[in-house]
């Protein structure tokens, strides 16, 4: 199992607040790695650090043993780390197909001259883009929405469009920020099956999620953050029985304390 994403002592300060503090973790090839933690634990900040949207205060990040610390988001994306956002960031006024086509941008290379003269590069790129976009939609099960404007779709489907768009970049690792947020149980179960299928096809996934059932059922490795620190890491069984994790989520048995 080779390392796909490795963070070493990652820190991020916002003014006097240390939002992410000395987080070290490794995602191996073929993992579905989950990050959980109470609100404000620094999960999304950690994602933003890995994907280049925020700069690190300290620490280093590696993607497949290549250092990606503080590279720009578009560069990191091209190196094979693709992400979705907690609040969906779709191209709302474009069709679903066009959204996914933009995901193929980095893999194609036709330039202004090519597209004006319709050179061979242009034709190959367009063919690849259309083919890849349709294929990806089929894979995600969104073919029937290809021509629908993305902003007009129900929320659950918008999230899937965002995943499809990221998948079109052929990422080495897919970062999903709360993919099940705002979904009902049925949609969540469908998403879980879908992610497992993706993973079975060899996709490495790192996800943030609040839905415990979802995380426990789908991830093989879990990291728990609290106040920016890693408090636990391991299999779902290990994490759910960890006393520090229980404290973070439920507090210490307050009533007993009061009586003692």
């Amino acid at each position: 199992m080779s390392d796909i994403l490795r963070a070493e002592g990652v820190c991020r300060d916002f003014g006097g607040l240390r939002a992410v503090s000395d987080v070290t973790m490794t995602v191996h090839s073929g993992d579905i790695f989950g990050i959980i933690g109470p609100n404000g634990a620094g999960k999304t900040t950690f994602f933003n650090l890995c994907s280049g949207i925020y700069k690190l205060t300290e620490g280093r990040v590696f993607l497949c043993d290549k250092e990606i610390t503080n590279l720009r988001p578009e560069v990191i994306s091209r190196l094979g780390l693709s992400r979705t956002f907690q609040s969906t960031q779709l191209f709302q006024f474009m069709s679903v197909l066009e959204n996914v086509k933009i995901g193929c941008h980095a893999a194609t290379k036709s330039r202004l001259v090519d597209v004006i003269l319709h050179t061979k590069t242009y034709r190959e790129d367009e063919e690849y883009t259309t083919q890849k976009a349709l294929e990806t939609l089929q894979r995600v099960g969104l073919s029937q929405y290809a021509d629908t404007m993305a902003g007009n779709l129900p929320y659950g489907i918008q999230r899937r469009v965002e995943i499809a768009r990221s998948l079109a970049t052929d990422p080495k690792i897919l970062l999903l920020d709360e993919p099940a947020a705002g979904m009902n149980r049925l949609e969540t179960d469908a998403l879980q099956d879908f992610l497992k299928q993706l993973n079975a096809d060899g996709q490495t996934i790192l996800l943030i999620e609040h839905d415990m059932k979802f995380v426990m059922n789908s991830c093989n490795q879990i990291m728990v953050l609290n106040f920016g620190r890693k408090i636990c890491e391991g299999s779902p069984q290990k994490v759910s029985s960890d006393s520090e994790v229980q404290t973070a989520y439920f507090g210490k048995g307050g009533i007993n304390h009061a009586q003692n």
């Binding site: 720009r72 988001p73 578009e74 693709s82 992400r83 933009i102 202004l112 597209v115 902003g151």
Partner: protein
């Protein structure tokens, strides 16, 4: 609904309509109009390209540039100086003027890369004025406030392009070429990249689109066509001075883009026809027509911010709220 019907009609009769339009455009100067009327047609065609090229920047990549007159100026002076001093052929100078404008576009665009919205607009506005003031004060090169006169007219072999009806075809060729090339560019990887920046820059970046270089290409592409327009304009009027390329001119071009419809290829064409047509219709009321323009732009912003030809389901229409409402209704329907 009506927009959809128009689109359906267009899809069905497209070839027929295009041929009809081509025939009308080609025979138009042969119908015995007065020279003054032909000049209006020339203006409309020139502004089709000028407004269209501004629309590539403002409408497609969403970077609000106000300095288009500056690039028009660069093109016109490149042509005027090189043609009067060195007698270089018009046909060689035309692309050269475009390239000169694109290079100045690059110089303007680099410092604006990290800026958005108002800041970018102000820099482009300033750049446009700087270009005009350089043209006004660099006497040895540009003739200063005397301008440059006797700009030689283009010729094809021994056939000289010397009347408005002949220039009409040059302007027409430029406009058609511009629309043809731009359509190709916009329906490609390059165009999709530009549009994705307008729609959502964060998402574009996280999908690996190099937004900085895409913006530069976009800005230079728009400036290039403005330069070409300037290159045709200079020998057409035969005399240019810096006063022509004032900020008013920039806003004039912008008003065509806004009235016609940003982010559509046909919008600036309609804008050029409407604004230039209005100029003629309102000529009897003199300077008061600028009040009418102002009122028109305010009404447009109020009733139809996407412009005459713009789609209502677009970022530029402020359509965000509409789409969200629709989504809610849809998802409510699904849950039932």
């Amino acid at each position: 609904m009506t927009m959809q019907k128009v689109k359906q009609m267009w899809a069905r009769y497209r070839v027929f309509l295009l041929i009809a339009a081509a025939v009308i455009l080609i025979v138009l100067p042969l119908l015995g109009f007065k020279n003054s009327t032909i000049r209006i047609f020339c203006r409309i065609l020139m502004y089709t390209t000028l407004a269209g090229s501004l629309n590539i920047t403002n409408g497609y990549s969403g970077q609000m540039s106000l300095g288009h007159a500056g690039f028009f100026c660069v093109g016109a002076y490149t042509m005027a100086i090189l043609a009067t001093r060195f007698g270089i052929s018009f046909w060689l100078l035309m692309p050269l003027a475009g390239i000169a404008a694109a290079l100045i576009g690059l110089v303007v665009a680099v410092p604006t890369l990290r800026m958005k919205g108002l800041y970018l607009s102000i820099i482009t506005l300033g750049a446009s004025e700087v270009i005009r003031i350089i043209a006004l004060n660099w006497q040895s090169l540009t003739g200063g406030s005397f301008g440059i006169k006797d700009i030689p007219r283009p010729a094809i072999l021994s056939f000289e392009v010397d009347s408005p009806s002949k220039f009409y075809y040059v302007f027409l060729a430029v406009a058609v070429l511009f629309l043809f090339v731009s359509r190709r560019v916009l329906n490609s990887r390059v165009g999709r990249g530009w549009i994705s920046i307008r729609e959502n820059e964060l998402a574009a970046k996280s999908l690996g689109i190099q937004t900085s270089s895409a913006k530069l290409t976009n800005f230079m592409y728009g400036a290039f066509w403005a330069g070409i327009c300037g290159a045709v304009y200079a020998p057409y009027v035969q005399y240019i001075d810096s006063a022509v390329f004032s900020l008013d001119e920039g806003f004039n071009i912008l008003s065509m883009v806004i009235i016609g419809g940003q982010g559509t290829l046909v919008g600036p064409v309609v804008g050029a026809v409407v604004v230039n047509g209005l100029t003629e219709v309102l000529r009897p009321i003199g300077e008061w027509r600028f009040v009418m323009y102002g009122a028109l732009i305010i009404v447009m912003m109020w009733l139809r911010p996407q412009g005459l030809m713009g789609a209502s389901d677009n970022v530029l229409a402020g359509g965000k709220i509409k789409a969200v409402k629709k989504t809610r209704r849809l998802s409510a329907g699904v849950q039932k």
